[in-house]
Symmetry: C2
Subunit: 333 residues, 2 copies
């Protein structure tokens, strides 16, 4: 383990970007963090959990896939770290977990301090916004493993949930409503297909069919975290019976994973906003609607399954949310 | 987050290696693990920590560096996962932490189920041996990011220590003894240099100067975990005042990090066994003693700093351990 103070990026101690990054990391330190940059591994006190009946840690590791290749083509690294933190946050949020801390790993054939600082600075900003401590990280220079100029970023998040409050879908019933929390774009899935069909277009010019942003900007749109949105729904007194983070495989594959046997779902057409980048990808690649729904989130960022009579209250709690379908009997597949 | 049941390696459900891997993962599940393979993120109950005064989590993320390129050259993947688990275990052990659970990430340009199964099988075996739950993992196929045939493996470990029992070196005094826990070889550091100077030799033939093993076998020797050794020393009633995991930078850079200001150390020559692979690397590369000590562990796997009058008891607790030096006044650098 190296904290950033000891990592490769620290060798060039005079680098302004690295100094800024370290300041950004410190700002993520909550009262529970015992170690300071410069010590060994990250220390996180559980003292604040003493009031919980049975705290359960929820942990998840993930990368952002080939979205890094979009960052590489545009040489814009500030958002990839945000994508990673937000993606990981959503992955444990679906079980009801509140994130506590995050660790990261950034590797490349050759580490460029400015690039690392941008990536980690993005992680720190996303952590700070969500109250997550950026507890540690590691950088690795691996010539002969990574292609020149390419980067992989990997994050691990640890959160906590009261055992009795784990969200696991077992109380989902026929007739429950599907409430969508809208996505900002591709989030972190479908980039291999998107890059292929858009490869020959201009990625820098603003486009009318993308509401005035460029393809590059649309592709790099930051993965939205839904922590505050889910908290807002719960604060409104709504019972969330299941949560599905719509990642690779789309709603078709991700929602069934949290439904009890014997229950499936129907979507209501045209009930949620589809970010325009998806229309462009579909036109350029001449892709069927069905494949689009299987590869991309299509605007469905996270689905909350709630009792039908509480759906309106859930929708009113979150900007842009809408009822997009309901639970029905039947097998999914 | 995907547990292995949902990951890419599961697509080929008929693959025997993958089935074996999943069985191996299940064997690592301690009573604290609530989720089963097939559910979402890994759930780890903290119920068993209820008796602690102030439990502190210690977390660390790391890779195994270009040791993966040795595995790739030899196409032997069974040990890399063990290296990673053991390395991470040692990284939190130096602060006194008992490991609880581990998560991994394996990425390549193209995922080969047999290869992933060997890597993850190695992780599971190492976890089982140390009582660590292999709580989750992620695989990623990243064509255009990784070079063909190359793999990166990243692990995150989370452990726990009673706050009052954190080992931080602050009680280290002049005259304290350095007790070495011997390494098995390079562990996970110095592979770029080692591969370069050994590149043109035969890596498969047994060699007399390596006690009958091949260069390939010597280079892949598994990173030793020191959890049980440190527990044995503590059980013998020895006060461990500092622990240093000797990784990149050798003892020269790693031991000073845990010493209080104003204290340094002296090594006693010829007091520990130097694995023969280091002699071969030094001869082939015509490398100075000083550089060898800065790049490699040279047989010094972990250093425990203990009161001088308890050193003999510490040494008697661990096979192959020896007193290799002592703490003196002075600035290191």
């Amino acid at each position: 383990m190296t904290t950033y103070a000891e990592s490769g990026v620290n060798i060039d101690a005079g680098n302004e970007a690295v100094h800024l990054m370290r300041a950004a990391i410190r700002r993520t330190y909550t009262a529970a963090v015992l170690s300071d940059t410069g010590s060994f591994g990250g220390l996180y006190s559980l003292k604040a959990l003493a009031g919980m009946r049975e705290p359960v840690l929820v942990a998840s590791t993930d990368g952002v896939g080939t979205k890094t290749k979009v960052a590489s083509r545009l040489n814009r690294w500030g958002t990839i770290g945000q994508d990673l933190v937000n993606h990981c946050t959503n992955d444990i949020l679906v079980q009801g977990a509140q994130p506590l801390f995050f660790l990261d790993y950034v590797a490349s054939s050759k580490l460029i301090p400015q690039q690392i600082a941008e990536i980690v600075g993005g992680m720190a900003a996303a952590c700070e916004a969500l109250g997550i401590a950026l507890l540690g990280g590691e950088t690795a220079e691996m010539p002969g493993v990574y292609l020149d100029g390419e980067v992989d970023v990997v994050g691990t998040i640890v959160g906590v949930v009261e055992r009795e409050q784990i969200i696991d879908g077992r109380r989902v019933q026929m007739g429950d409503a599907l409430v969508n929390l809208p996505s900002s774009g591709l989030h972190t899935n479908g980039y291999s297909l998107a890059r292929r069909v858009l490869a020959d277009l201009d990625w820098d010019a603003p486009r009318a069919d993308l509401n005035g942003v460029s393809i590059g900007e649309a592709l790099l749109a930051v993965h939205r975290p839904y922590l505050h949105e889910v908290q807002a729904i719960q604060s409104a007194g709504v019972e969330i019976r299941a949560l599905a983070h719509i990642t690779g495989g789309g709603i078709v594959e991700n929602l069934p994973r949290v439904l009890p046997t014997g229950l499936s779902f129907d979507l209501l057409p045209n009930t949620w906003p589809v970010p325009p980048i998806f229309r462009l990808i579909q036109q350029q690649g001449q892709i069927t609607d069905e494949e689009m729904m299987r590869v991309f989130n299509m605007g469905l960022g996270m689905i909350a399954v709630v009792p039908a009579d509480q759906a309106e209250r859930a929708v009113a709690s979150v900007d842009g949310a809408s009822v997009v379908g309901h639970i029905r009997e039947g097998e999914h597949g």
